[in-house]
């Protein structure tokens, strides 16, 4: 008897049940985000859902300097953290991939450390370091940038490592045997092959920085606050629909970024490839 998995799936009642359950899970997962988006168009002063009336005034307020400034602050912080952590991750990932040396396991553990450690704890530690060194004036942008580079680095290192594994080992030997120097090989042979991975790493790093709260609550200071921390602060007082509009903007920015990069360099395969690693 020939068994067809496709036919089993199409006819089986359990599969229909599974589909129903999956629809429920999607509703659970996306519902609150869609509700937030709907609330931002409220005509009312409160965050009613379903929205009562319709207006754009919360969006106008969300784009006023009070919220635009922290938003731009987060963008600047995320962009710099992404570039810096990727630049640091490149040589690190390359060395870990290419050479065998003493202390390599320790270095690998050190590299992935910020991913394993609760981010909140890294934030507390950095705050303590800054205070004990008398660097209080560096809290705010500088402190946040240092912290974000540290917590974003593992993402960049991991993504670059994954793409280094896809480079056939012989291409470097081929380049060398044709007379290319070590640096020329890297620049003209290896780097073009891992470019997508490097961009993906930078995008992951940016998103990790842009959405972070746990580290930033310890290192921010008034006037130099990422937008997530500012939203969190406001959530304690009131829930005007302005926050809903700001929230939607902070969701859309990474979404647009991922969509654009995906168009240019096929990021999607990369995310799925990461997913397969678990």
């Amino acid at each position: 008897m020939r068994f067809s998995f496709a036919r089993w799936r199409a006819t089986a009642a359990p599969w229909a049940l599974l589909r129903t359950f999956v629809i429920f899970v999607y509703a659970f997962s996306l519902g609150p985000i869609l509700i937030t988006a709907a609330v931002s168009f409220n005509g009312s002063n409160r965050s009613f859902f379903p929205p009562r009336g319709f207006s754009f005034r919360w969006w106008e307020r969300a784009l006023a300097p009070e919220w635009l400034d922290p938003l731009l602050f987060s963008l600047k912080l995320g962009a710099l953290a992404a570039v810096a952590s990727t630049l640091l991750a490149l040589p690190l990932a390359f060395a870990l991939h290419r050479y065998r040396f003493r202390g390599q396991q320790a270095l690998l553990a050190l590299t992935l450390g910020p991913l394993m450690m609760p981010t909140l704890v890294t934030g507390v530690g950095l705050l303590q370091l800054f205070q004990s060194l008398g660097w209080r004036e560096y809290l705010g942008f500088t402190g946040l940038l240092i912290g974000h580079v540290v917590i974003c680095m593992p993402f960049a290192v991991r993504t670059v490592s994954v793409s280094l594994h896809t480079v056939p080992p012989n291409v470097e030997l081929a380049a060398a045997s044709l007379g290319a120097t070590g640096f020329a090989t890297l620049r003209h042979v290896v780097f073009p092959l891992i470019k997508t991975g490097v961009i993906a790493g930078a995008v992951f790093a940016f998103i990790h920085s842009f959405t972070d709260v746990n580290l930033s609550i310890f290192l921010a200071r008034p006037g130099q606050t990422p937008v997530t921390v500012k939203i969190l602060g406001f959530l304690e007082f009131g829930f005007a629909p302005t926050l809903a509009a700001v929230s939607v903007i902070t969701l859309l920015l990474p979404l647009v970024l991922v969509a654009v990069v995906e168009r240019i360099s096929g990021l999607g395969d990369f995310i799925y490839g990461e997913g397969r690693r678990g």
């Binding site: 985000i33 509700i35 065998r100 050190l110 580079v149 680095m153 939203i231 990474p254």
Partner: protein
């Protein structure tokens, strides 16, 4: 590959490593070492002294308030991890096995919440759960309740919010594991006469145990150190480890107790992740 570079070039990795390693040592290892040392020092008048002591840990492990805090944090972690495995497993299985034309889009949609900050994702739950929120409106409208209920602040609200925020991690981890199960195993079991339920229970489920356990432990470890969701959906009566650390450090300026609590959290997280890693290693073997 490494052979051609032994010899005169063996110093080369160090040139590549030195700057990133220095950054990590200065801004990751050193702060954590400081924190560890602070947890064994006495605080007086909101200042760390240099007197070594174990009192911080003794205090946290004996005061009913903090014992309760550990139990609550642990319970939140277990509940969130259980919920996410129960919700994430069917979704992950579906995403791996579906032949839908929309497969790519469906996978993207299931991971899209990761692009939003936890603050943003939790805000939606505030709109639903607050006293004048959507859930109350619906229940009142259906006549199931007579007066408005405070769904939040509560531990239950924290659990729902965190389960929502961390679901993509469970889905990603389980998808990785289900992806490794050969669909022919299922066909084989069924052609040998097992029905669908038996096939799932005796073939698919046992093979995905490492993925389930990995997802459980990873979600658990993130949940016990989450700050934003408990801060928004919880209150003073439903403190968890992360919100308590924030209060110690920022409000009470008690570095000793804050550091001790942070160290306890680190140890718990690392143990969970170590266990998850061991399971992964066994799967690979």
């Amino acid at each position: 590959m490494s052979e051609p570079h032994l010899g005169p070039q063996a110093t080369r990795p160090w040139i590549l490593i030195i700057v990133p390693a220095a950054v990590l040592l200065a801004f990751f290892v050193l702060p954590n070492a400081l924190l560890l040392s602070a947890s064994f020092l006495k605080s007086e008048a909101q200042q760390l002294t240099s007197q070594p002591t174990l009192d911080n840990y003794r205090f946290l492990f004996t005061r009913p308030l903090y014992v309760e805090l550990f139990i609550r944090t642990f319970a939140v972690g277990v509940s969130v991890a259980t919920l996410d495995v129960l919700l994430g497993y069917p979704l992950a299985y579906f995403l791996v096995r579906t032949r839908s034309r929309w497969k790519g889009l469906l996978i993207a949609l299931s991971l899209a919440p990761l692009l939003a900050s936890v603050v943003v994702r939790t805000y939606g739950w505030y709109i639903i759960l607050n006293r004048f929120g959507f859930a109350n409106d619906v229940l009142l409208g259906l006549g199931m309740i007579d007066e408005r209920i405070a769904f939040m602040p509560s531990t239950g609200a924290i659990i729902v919010g965190l389960a929502h925020a961390l679901l993509p991690y469970a889905v990603l981890t389980i998808m990785g594991s289900v992806n490794g199960i050969n669909p022919h195993f299922e066909s084989a079991a069924m052609s040998l006469g097992a029905n669908r339920t038996r096939t799932f229970l005796h073939v698919v489920l046992p093979l995905s145990v490492p993925g389930i356990a990995g997802a459980f432990l990873i979600v658990f470890s993130i949940a016990i150190s989450a700050y934003a969701t408990p801060a928004i959906l919880g209150g003073p009566a439903t403190q968890v480890a992360a919100t308590a650390i924030y209060n110690f450090i920022i409000q009470l300026l008690d570095w000793s107790l804050g550091a001790a609590l942070a160290v306890i959290l680190i140890v718990a997280s690392l143990l969970l992740l170590y266990a998850a890693g061991r399971l992964g290693a066994r799967r690979a073997a």
